[in-house]
């Protein structure tokens, strides 16, 4: 095990109210976290193979986003990333922030697949 950076360990100040609905995992606010770099890192050759093996085809990627974007349209009434970003800035809804990138990916995939 190789330690790269050591900081004070977790300082719990109480679980977030959203936590009880997630059994089995406790999320706590922290001020610091210990960064311990351990575990085998892949070689450049292994990374080449991982990229090849783990990258989805354009068709599979588009299928994933089409299903997700259908939900986004239903929830927010738009599939325009700029409109969603505007809504995200107004509401600070984390899903909106997350979905701005989803919509950008979706439109780029559609463009690429045509």
């Amino acid at each position: 095990m190789k330690k790269k950076k050591r900081k004070p360990t977790i300082v719990p100040v109480g679980a977030h109210p959203s936590v009880p609905a997630m059994p089995g995992t406790v999320v706590q606010r922290t001020t610091h976290i210990e960064i311990t770099i351990s575990g085998p890192q892949p070689s450049p050759e292994e990374v080449d193979k991982l990229v090849k093996d783990k990258t989805l085809s354009l068709g599979d990627a588009l299928e994933f986003y089409e299903a997700l974007v259908e939900d986004i349209r239903e929830m927010y009434g738009t599939d325009d990333p700029e409109e969603l970003m505007r809504l995200a800035m107004e509401s600070e809804d984390l899903w909106l922030e997350e979905h701005v990138h989803d919509l950008e990916m979706y439109h780029a995939l559609k463009q690429r697949s045509h």
């Binding site: 109210p17 976290i33 990374v47 984390l94 950008e104 990916m105 995939l109």
Partner: protein, 185 residues
């Protein structure tokens, strides 16, 4: 190994150098995620194709974490031209999500996301309509100048939660945070 996610690139004089740098960052992230897979924190992950749209390179990685939670890392490399030179601005968002219990249960038994991608209905893990919740989200969008770690900040689930200072400013940091919390389960 990056302990801080770079917010921008060095200045480049050619588009080829920009592409090489983006490709290098992409490979570094894959190596970091794979390391956490080998440590047993990540069960498996899939890479979405690196896409170019106008002056942006867009990329996404999604995966399953031990216990059936999920993660999504979205990265946008925005290429800006200044005179004859180029600078890449990097925006990233990393969400740790808790899917609906049924989806979560199915995800705990995932062996290989690439082969089980369709049958597991993986998109459900990332849809609030399907009952998924964001537990923690980190991003470097520059909209919380008072967060103490600008532009990086994190949010704890739900809506309208104030950004709190983030000590985790890299893929390694995000997974170390998750690993620490999984260890407490």
């Amino acid at each position: 190994m990056n302990l801080v996610f770079e917010v921008h690139s060095p200045v480049f004089s050619s588009k080829d150098d920009v592409k090489k740098w983006v490709n290098q960052k992409f490979r570094e992230i894959v190596a970091e995620i794979e390391m956490f897979k080998r440590m047993g924190v990540v069960i498996d992950y899939v890479l979405f194709p690196l896409l170019q749209n106008g002056n942006k390179f867009l990329w996404n990685v999604r995966g399953v974490i031990k216990g059936g939670t999920g993660f999504s890392l979205g990265v946008s490399f925005e290429v800006n031209k200044f005179g004859e030179n180029y600078l890449v601005l990097v925006k990233m968002g990393f969400s740790w999500v808790s899917p609906h219990s049924k989806t979560r249960q199915r995800l705990t038994s995932v062996k290989n996301l690439n082969t089980e991608f369709r049958s597991k209905k993986f998109w459900r893990a990332f849809s609030e309509k399907e009952g998924s919740r964001i537990l923690v989200r980190w991003d470097n969008y520059p909209h919380h100048p008072d967060s103490g770690s600008w532009p990086f900040h994190k949010h704890f689930g739900g809506q309208k939660v104030p950004a709190s200072p983030s000590q985790e400013q890299s893929v390694v940091g995000f997974f170390e945070f998750i690993k620490a919390h999984l260890g407490k389960s």
